[in-house]
Symmetry: C2
Subunit: 216 residues, 2 copies
């Protein structure tokens, strides 16, 4: 007994078509990138003519925003699942890489080049907070703070609005940021193809950066 897919028949049909639209949208994005996404092409694939899609999404941007939200959501879910399964910082890091490699364009939808005017909706900022909380948990669990905080760590401790009540010590704040920025650095360059033809194995560089963050 799956979830009863609550709602009126109309609502259920509507949700179903929305999902089908998004399915073809993902296919297009995976093969040609988000900028090449064409509503007309999607409509043709589904079998209805052009403007019909505007019953389901106000415009192209709203569809893309929805896809970005779904991408964020799937990343947050995976990280939360792994964390609940007892994964440490390195487990989360590997989960992140698997998620990214599974669909590079999905990664770029979240962490890639932003459109200058675009402002993320409130939902996504809430999801990033969820992700940050998982990382902060893992960073706090890592090791007790022993050394006196560095200047940057005290700065982070002074401006911890982004940690949202999380009781992580200054060193954990720093490590969470390192986790995010360093892994993103390796990952985004790899996915963008900047390591192509360089000879070395990106996975080993990634693993080494993980060690650097977790403290060997």
């Amino acid at each position: 007994m799956g979830k009863p897919d609550a709602g009126t028949p109309r609502e259920r049909y509507r949700a179903q078509v929305r999902e089908e639209i998004k399915k073809y949208a993902w296919e297009q994005i995976a093969t040609a990138g988000a900028s090449a996404l064409s509503l007309n092409a999607i409509a043709k694939q589904i079998g209805m003519s052009g403007p019909a899609l505007y019953r389901y999404f106000a415009n192209r941007d709203e569809l893309i925003t929805e896809l970005i939200k779904d991408a964020y959501r799937s990343l947050a879910d995976i990280l939360q699942d792994r964390a609940e399964a007892g994964a440490g910082l390195d487990g989360l890091a590997h989960a992140l890489r698997e998620w990214a490699l599974a669909d590079p364009q999905r990664y770029f939808l979240v962490y890639g080049t932003p459109v200058p005017g675009y402002h993320a909706p409130a939902d996504t900022t809430r999801i990033t907070a969820e992700i940050m909380a998982v990382i902060l948990d893992a960073c706090t669990a890592g090791q007790p703070p022993v050394a006196p905080p560095s200047p940057l760590e005290t700065h982070l401790d002074d401006h911890r609005v982004w940690a949202r009540q999380h009781p992580a010590p200054p060193s954990a704040l720093r490590r969470a940021l390192a986790f995010w920025t360093r892994l993103h650095g390796v990952l985004s360059l790899e996915l963008a193809g900047h390591f192509d033809g360089m000879g070395f194995d990106p996975a080993r560089l990634y693993a080494d950066e993980i060690e650097g963050v977790t403290g060997h």
Copy 2:
């Protein structure tokens, strides 16, 4: 006396118009991103009608490729200049950040989301080799290799096609990669606005990452 702008009058005029096209193209990219670049709009700004631009660029992609090449070139020039002026690894890092902040969309043109099909022309890979050489120089000059190489460092030493005859020791190879990936990690997240509303100062995080790479 500046360079005489060699060539026939036709060639000089042609080069001049090409530059004007690129100028307006950069303006559009800076304000709306590369995906919003419109050849028609550029033509209108210059004062000629649409298809005239196709005398100067075969198509939209060729114009963008040209802009990417210019962006790469300007970054390489800046880093080489700073290196010749005696800048160390930290000097190069700050130059990189200044270059990125001066025009975020230019940075994304080089290091941002790639179009799945796109393959960089041979020119740009030569320019990346130039950039890598400058960084490797600075990494080698840093400090003598004392400790035995880590597993990753020996791996990099075994696959040093990307270093192109550069006599950098394994530790310098590792540091060059850290320079690239870690600084790109912080920088790209900052430019993409992912730090917005988080409270802390990205410049301090960047400076701290520099210290991590240079070895305090």
